[in-house]
Subunit: 283 residues, 2 copies
């Protein structure tokens, strides 16, 4: 696997690949790669002649007091994992090359950026939309792959790619989980052993919610209350939110109607570690 550091060299490489008629598949990451990223890269391998994995811890999507400074970094491990999963090019730019002095331009997806993660992390999706715009322009992919774990990110980016006419196919890959159900996340590395033991409560609560709905529960409030009880009753987690929303508009639902496409999502803190998870239910 080839590593490229300079945006203009990556862009020239992308232009050359396209001129040669090659299909480019992009997997944007913040590094600290795990099995979830490996699944994205393997899927990209089936869809592109050239698989570009980007590695950039994007300061624009971290708020004040968040974990930008301590976000896990392990470029040697990342190169091994990305290469093993089928990556061709690792694009790992310096922060100063992505946001040079005098940088001023931001992309905002209105409305969809505001609830859920956006409410707890103001400006987060503005940072995500901006860096993904830059990465799409630099790597010129035919398709870009994202994990379902970041459900709102997928909704925001689908809208952005459609609105700004990027002409890039967004491919969403199912969340990859540990054996006990915990969604794979670079932030799992922050958990103490005790917290790690409790963290599967998140996915357990979501599966329980799905069973409730399959058994006929139609009140979003009842579903949210059951999830909250399951998490707070069986772990030390503090809940940021539990949401039952329309999977495309992200608007909160009060009733789960026939035909609805429902995103059940949550965020919770174990000590200082903030985790998210979600499931998608089609009625």
């Amino acid at each position: 696997m080839k590593t490229i550091r300079e945006p203009h060299l990556m862009q020239r490489q992308a232009d050359d690949l396209r001129l040669g008629g090659k299909r480019i598949a992009l997997v944007p990451t913040m590094g600290a790669l795990h099995g979830g990223h490996a699944a994205l890269i393997r899927e990209a391998r089936t869809r592109g002649d050239a698989v570009v994995v980007t590695l950039f811890v994007n300061p624009a999507q971290f708020g004040e007091g968040e974990d930008y400074g301590r976000y896990p970094r392990d470029i040697d491990g990342d190169v091994r994992l990305a290469s093993g999963a089928g990556g061709d090019i690792l694009f790992a730019p310096e922060t100063a090359a992505m946001y040079p002095p005098g940088y001023r331009t931001f992309v905002n997806v209105e409305k969809l950026s505001l609830p859920l993660e956006g409410a707890v992390r103001p400006g987060h999706f503005r940072g995500v939309a901006t860096v993904v715009t830059k990465l799409l322009n630099i790597t010129k992919p035919h398709c870009a792959l994202f994990g379902q774990k970041d459900a709102q990110q997928v909704v925001v980016l689908r809208r952005m790619v459609r609105d700004l006419d990027f002409g890039v196919e967004i491919v969403v890959v199912p969340t990859v989980r540990e054996e006990d159900g915990l969604a794979m996340s670079s932030r799992n590395a922050y958990l103490t052993p005790a917290e790690r033991g409790e963290a599967p409560a998140l996915y357990r609560s979501l599966r329980m919610a799905e069973e409730l709905v399959r058994a006929g529960e139609r009140s979003a409030g009842a579903v949210i209350a059951a999830i909250t009880r399951e998490i707070t009753g069986r772990s030390s987690a503090a809940i940021d939110y539990v949401s039952v929303a329309d999977a495309e508009s992200l608007e909160p639902l009060s009733t789960l109607s026939p035909g609805a496409s429902v995103l059940v999502s949550l965020a919770a803190r174990f000590g200082t570690t903030r985790l998210i998870d979600n499931i998608h239910i089609t009625l």
Copy 2:
């Protein structure tokens, strides 16, 4: 010249051109083409194998109470002028194809969008940055040409193209003027004969300002006062602003120092018609 209406067909055409190794030169316009646009298209002809002229009156860059509804439209005349000046493709999308229901994404160039035109027309440059992002993604040009008449637009778009890594060369073409000095503009068509007679006062005041500076004047305030006197003393125009600013940061200057790159710009209203003009002075 070929006319394309559908964004996805234009994008496919652009992909085909690029695959064939062709250089694409873009001239974005709002139609009602005049000699200034012809100069842009002729310059594009020397820089590209395929010259794409876009024609789209972009609602996102008009404020409430502005002239969106009455902005001059003349597609037959536009086709003749663009074709005669060397255009290959006219891309003229419908508004609903550019901003379909549920549209949510906007590009903002912070700080540079706020003074001058941005102060009088809030949201204007957000609309410009957004539509140009879309047009760059749809037409995939190697270079894009803009007129110096819209000086702040050039500053905002240069910053945007650099910040978002579009990899597109921005080419700025000098303002084209009528014989009496009035900058060519689609909005000149709104002027009554009496207003048309007075309108050259704008450029006359700018040339006078340049002479003052060449003669040693270094006070921005004195330059602004002289321009204001010249316009209001010799015409019925109401001035929106007269500005002496750094040509890149657009920050107002109080003193014109050696080596400075200075943008002297103004906006004024003749009746309900709002005109802008500017000159660039390097000391």
